[in-house]
């Protein structure tokens, strides 16, 4: 966990007092909506279809149990008893009242949480691998770097009015669990040929109406230069990014129109002005940030305790969950446990206040009080002793977060869609729910193997549909909901945008189409362990297209 200092606490508390005054002035009529809108957006407050929506930052997806209890408290006290975990590792509340928002924010501030930079044309919440610090394949904890960059860009006056929002992710070598390629700026920790650890710098990724994968503009950046190089990128974007057309304002358009090489040259030129100045990394300052990440005092334990093996043999449900939701930890005797927020018939990413409180208690008991949020809209207990897994599983199952579907067809990423969102054209959640019902048979889902479905209710692509193995995009046609289907997208280290398989299908047929695609895959795969995404790559989309449209 990162431990906040007085500066962090003062900053957050001052923002609450400032926002309380702004809300009072709006309610009294002293501020018009045009004046108030940018102020509320700077605190993550949107106006949705039915109510205000509050988005609260969860930096790099790391939560303490006390913070999770606070998420539950806000859900219960100010909302309708639940919250929605998002693809930026944040949480959203969909029924907040403006007149109560300052109190909710004050409650959040008591545990160091806030909504700053969860909206607006600034650097948004910095995301990373939800297994950061515990994954066996990482070379270094990327959260320390995410925190360093977060501190630099928080309320940075030069970067508070960028041409458009700016999303940063920090990842590490090995398997990419942070969807680096779809970020405006991605920093990937890796070793160069000399064995030094530094960053690959990628820019210009993003989805929305014009999707692009990020391009590498610097294969290796020394650690000392990370802040100055990020500064140079943001300055270059701030200077050249378009402000005349909101649809062309993201850095991806600038990088595309200028070309990655030309953009890199501009960045390098700007970098020369700042690289050896105050932004060159001060080892003492870095050490201070790093020292405030406190790691658990792990016990010396052995892997694979016999009691767990016995429990697996005794209960096939526990055994299935172990196979699906429990992952190797870098410390012997421990495990990483993913909690599914994708129950059959449920809304992806939603958790009730009761679940949040229970998860916080379980984190205290089994995970050194720490919880993570993943961009796939699930939660993680990152430090579980393997001997505790049977008991933990029973507790998680009792609160409905032990569905063994992590990474499977019913582990769907979905935006809130037209059920909540004022930008959406179509609904996403009912589509996701119906698909989870169609694939409720875990044996069937397991047989299909790793298969990611991503759903967006409009072209803004909050559900990351372009990079779903199966992507579903809602479009409105003459007042009716239709859905375009793409295949072959992926968001990992081999990121790829999906290909459209044909005309959009009506709302009522989407789950049928997914079943057709799954059936076609089973027939087409070269062998039982060929993954869906590999079959699509091998065969192309044509056989799937034929299957889907043969009877439509």
């Amino acid at each position: 966990m990162y431990i906040y200092d007085d500066l962090d606490r003062t900053l957050v508390n001052e923002r609450v007092a400032e926002f309380r005054d702004q809300v009072a002035r709006r309610l009294s009529g002293e501020l018009t909506e045009d004046e108030f809108r940018p102020l509320r957006l700077m605190n993550g407050v949107y106006l949705q279809l039915h109510a205000y929506m509050l988005r609260t930052a969860i930096p790099y997806g790391t939560l303490s149990s006390a913070q999770m209890h606070m998420l539950a408290h806000v859900a219960r006290r100010y909302d309708r008893g639940y919250g929605h975990f998002t693809t930026r590792q944040n949480i959203q509340y969909h029924w907040i009242k403006l007149e109560e928002l300052p109190d909710a924010m004050a409650d959040f501030a008591s545990v160091g949480m806030h909504g700053m930079q969860t909206s607006g044309n600034c650097v948004r919440n910095i995301t990373t691998d939800q297994w950061a610090g515990v994954a066996p394949d990482e070379i270094e904890d990327p959260r320390v770097w995410a925190e360093l960059v977060r501190q630099h860009v928080t309320l940075h006056p030069e970067f508070s009015f960028l041409p458009r929002k700016f999303k940063i992710a920090v990842g590490t070598s090995g398997h990419d669990r942070a969807a680096l390629a779809i970020h405006d700026l991605a920093l990937r920790l890796h070793r160069n040929g000399a064995g030094e650890i530094g960053f690959e710098v990628m820019v210009g990724g993003g989805l929305g109406r014009t999707p692009f994968l990020a391009k590498t503009i610097k294969p290796f950046l020394h650690k000392r230069d990370v802040l100055s190089y990020v500064e140079a990128i943001l300055r270059t974007y701030n200077e050249f990014g378009r402000r005349d057309n909101i649809y062309k304002a993201r850095i991806k358009i600038l990088v595309h129109e200028l070309g990655a090489e030309a953009f890199a040259r501009e960045v390098e030129a700007e970098w020369q002005n700042v690289k050896d100045g105050a932004l060159a990394l001060d080892p003492a300052a870095f050490a201070d940030v790093a020292s405030r990440f406190v790691y658990p005092a792990y016990e010396r334990l052995g892997d694979d305790p016999p009691a767990v093996g016995e429990a697996r043999r005794a209960d096939h449900c526990f055994d299935a969950w172990m196979d699906n939701s429990v992952t190797n930890h870098k410390v012997p005797g421990y495990a990483i446990v993913t909690l599914s927020l994708k129950p059959e018939g449920g809304t992806p990413g939603d958790a009730t206040a009761e679940q949040m409180d229970a998860i916080a208690d379980l984190a205290d008991r089994y995970s050194f009080g720490e919880i993570r949020v993943g961009h796939e809209q699930n939660l993680v207990l990152p430090h579980v002793a393997q001997r505790d897994l049977p008991e933990l599983w029973r507790a998680l199952d009792a609160i409905g977060v032990a569905t063994p579907n992590i990474g499977l067809i019913s582990d769907i990423i979905s935006c809130p869609g037209l059920d909540y969102c004022s930008l959406a054209n179509t609904r996403s959640i009912p589509i996701a729910r119906e698909i989870t019902r169609r694939f409720r048979d875990h044996d069937l889902a397991r047989d299909l193997g790793r298969l990611h479905i991503n759903i967006s209710g409009c072209i803004n692509a909050c559900g990351h549909h372009h990079v779903g193995h199966i992507g579903i995009l809602g479009v409105e046609k003459n007042g009716e909901e239709f859905y375009q289907i793409t295949l072959g997208g992926k968001a990992d280290e081999g990121a790829k945008l999906g290909a459209l398989i044909g005309p959009a299908v009506p709302y009522a047929q989407v789950a049928d189409v997914v079943e057709d695609i799954a059936a076609a895959y089973v027939e087409l795969r070269a062998r039982p362990d060929e993954l869906f995404i590999d079959t699509v790559k091998r065969t192309g989309i044509e056989p799937f297209r034929e299957r889907v449209y043969a009877t439509r």
């Binding site: 309708r80 639940y82 958790a351 009792a398 037209l418 009912p430 007042g479």
Partner: protein
């Protein structure tokens, strides 16, 4: 963003003026006698673009109580009941089409 007053209002049937209440974001409708109501049945309904524009103008003048008024389609049933005219307005009127998360019995 173009001001609603500058937007051309094209209507193909009955419409109302709707917005969200400032204090809590609740969906509200502009009444014929001025002011807002949460009851769609109490909204001023018109089939005239000119009247719709006047209603929007009046609603905008009350920026203290509601945010971003706009013209929304409605349907009139045989017995005169006012119903939302499209899916978006139906969801605004009656809430999400899915049940909200339930407590898992703990």
């Amino acid at each position: 963003m173009t001001s609603p007053l500058q937007q051309k209002i094209k209507i193909a049937g009955p419409v109302v003026v709707t917005a969200n209440r400032v204090a809590d974001g609740a969906v509200v409708y502009w009444r014929a006698d001025g002011g807002w109501t949460t009851a769609l049945g109490g909204a001023a309904v018109t089939t005239s673009a000119e009247t719709a524009r006047e209603l929007v103008q009046a609603a905008i003048s009350d920026g203290l109580r509601a945010v971003d008024p706009y013209v929304a389609p409605v349907k009139l049933t045989r017995d005169g009941e006012v119903r939302p005219g499209n899916l978006r307005e139906l969801i605004r009127f009656s809430g999400p089409t899915i049940d909200l998360p339930v407590t898992f019995g703990i």
